[in-house]
């Protein structure tokens, strides 16, 4: 079915499925099939923030004081997060917008992706502060084998869905030969690709960020790199919301509250969905090993980080009906939760280093010799 940017047929959005129904026409939010997405949009917009509001200048001297092993951990994590948000800043738009059928979900996808672009911008903000020229760091993201392996795994489900959708929208259902390769395009296959893609995105939002979050907050526990930690806390808050949305989508399908065919596919592909999740868990553990290959940092090591990945995977997998495959009952990094609580994110502007609020009012850095001219 050819995509149209404004579907001229009157459709009843209350009868449409989330995806692969009629293209959306009027962006209206007075009636909603799944009101949760409208609520997520409102919540996400209320979280608006800009990286420039967070003063990261003290991080530069903290960074100089880190050991080489710690520098490797810090920079590698930033590279990996840059990769994740590069993918997430565009892919939900490209993969999901052409097939979405509900206005509130369409706008949620756009809002979600937009926030990932704020995250990407914040990595540049952080790196510019640490390095006079951060381009070597960015260039390495497409050179580093560890990062590339993960990139391939994350983008493959998106790319599959995008390609199949393009074939379907230009050629229709059927068997198509493109560059000598045969592709079977039918609605069932498209929906399967969508289901697997959504599971891959869910695993990304659920656990892929958390190894680097843990390292960031472990630095912050030692009062190091606190500007960075403040930014990552804002990012973590957004990611929690994004995860909520993918959990809702997967559960709406599995529980038969949306497209009945997606409920069948959810059952049929449960094993594949589990594999996608477990594979992400395995990759995150390998990432932890890579981070600590030059030595660990105070408060964290590979073993405890792997336990944390398993712990959080249990939580995230049970939320989408995949059970708790790992034998770990308690949180090995209990202090993480303090950084993930929204109470500790939303602070009064005068109490934090929000530069737009402080500009022209006070100097945050006062050196001793500024009092030289003072006489009592």
């Amino acid at each position: 079915m050819k995509y149209t940017t404004f579907n001229q047929h009157n459709t009843d959005v209350m009868a449409e499925p989330m995806f692969f129904g009629n293209p959306v026409n009027v962006a209206r939010y007075d009636q909603q099939k799944h009101a949760i997405f409208e609520k997520l949009i409102e919540k996400q917009i209320s979280f608006f923030w800009r990286p420039e509001e967070v003063d990261v200048s003290k991080d530069r001297s903290d960074f100089q004081g880190l050991s080489d092993a710690e520098k490797h951990i810090f920079i590698s994590n930033l590279k990996y997060q840059t990769l994740l948000d590069s993918i997430q800043g565009r892919s939900p738009n490209i993969a999901l917008l052409p097939i979405v059928s509900l206005p509130e979900l369409e706008t949620w996808i756009e809002t979600w992706s937009f926030y990932e672009t704020i995250h990407s911008r914040s990595y540049t903000h952080i790196l510019r502060n640490l390095f006079t020229d951060p381009s070597a760091i960015f260039d390495d993201i497409v050179e580093n084998e560890e990062i590339k392996r993960r990139a391939a795994d994350i983008s493959k489900y998106y790319d599959d869905l995008i390609f199949a959708t393009q074939l379907w929208q230009t050629q229709g259902e059927g068997t198509h030969v493109v560059n000598g390769e045969t592709h079977v395009v039918n609605m069932r296959e498209l929906k399967k690709k969508l289901f697997l893609c959504m599971n891959s995105v869910n695993a990304l939002e659920a656990i892929r960020f958390y190894v680097s979050f843990a390292c960031t907050f472990a630095f912050a526990e030692r009062e190091l790199m606190e500007g960075n930690s403040k930014i990552i806390r804002l990012i973590a808050r957004d990611e929690n919301l994004h995860l909520s949305s993918t959990q809702h989508i997967l559960n709406l399908w599995a529980k038969g509250k949306d497209d009945p065919e997606m409920a069948e596919i959810a059952k049929e592909c449960e094993e594949e969905a589990r594999e996608i999740f477990l594979n992400a868990v395995q990759q995150e553990k390998e990432w932890a090993a890579f981070l600590f290959n030059n030595g660990s940092m105070i408060g964290l090591n590979e073993e405890i980080l792997c336990q944390y990945v398993e712990y959080i995977a249990n939580q995230r997998m049970s939320a989408i009906g995949l059970g708790q495959p790992f034998d770990i009952a308690s949180n090995p990094l209990p202090w993480m939760n303090n950084y993930l609580s929204s109470d500790n994110v939303q602070v009064a502007p005068q109490e934090s280093e929000i530069s737009s609020y402080l500009v022209g009012q006070i100097d945050s850095e006062v050196s001793e010799d500024e009092f030289d001219a003072f006489e009592l």
Binding site: S244, H248, N337, S341, S342, D343
Partner: protein, 88 residues
């Protein structure tokens, strides 16, 4: 006196029982008892504290945005309306 101002009995399946404190969320009560429960946002949007409600009734202090199954609740933003039993 509203229902939430009353003290209710909170029992944990295969675990301790205790009395709730008026105006406190279930999560705050559980923490006050030293019962370790996972949480992240404490505002109902992440779902990290999600647990099963075996019996009883609760009321939400905010509109929860996280996915919650029919037999589940989010302790971070609920207060008990009756005696409740939870499975953690």
């Amino acid at each position: 006196m509203s229902q939430t101002k009353q003290t209710r009995s909170i029992s944990i399946a295969n675990g301790p029982s205790f009395l709730s404190t008026p105006d406190n969320t279930l999560l705050a009560d559980l923490e006050a008892q030293g019962i370790a429960i996972e949480y992240h946002c404490r505002e109902g949007y992440c779902g990290a504290c999600r647990c099963k409600l075996i019996s009883g009734e609760v009321d939400y202090t905010v509109d929860p945005l996280a996915f919650i199954d029919d037999d589940e609740i989010l302790p971070c933003c609920t207060v008990p309306l009756s005696d409740v039993e939870l499975a953690l």
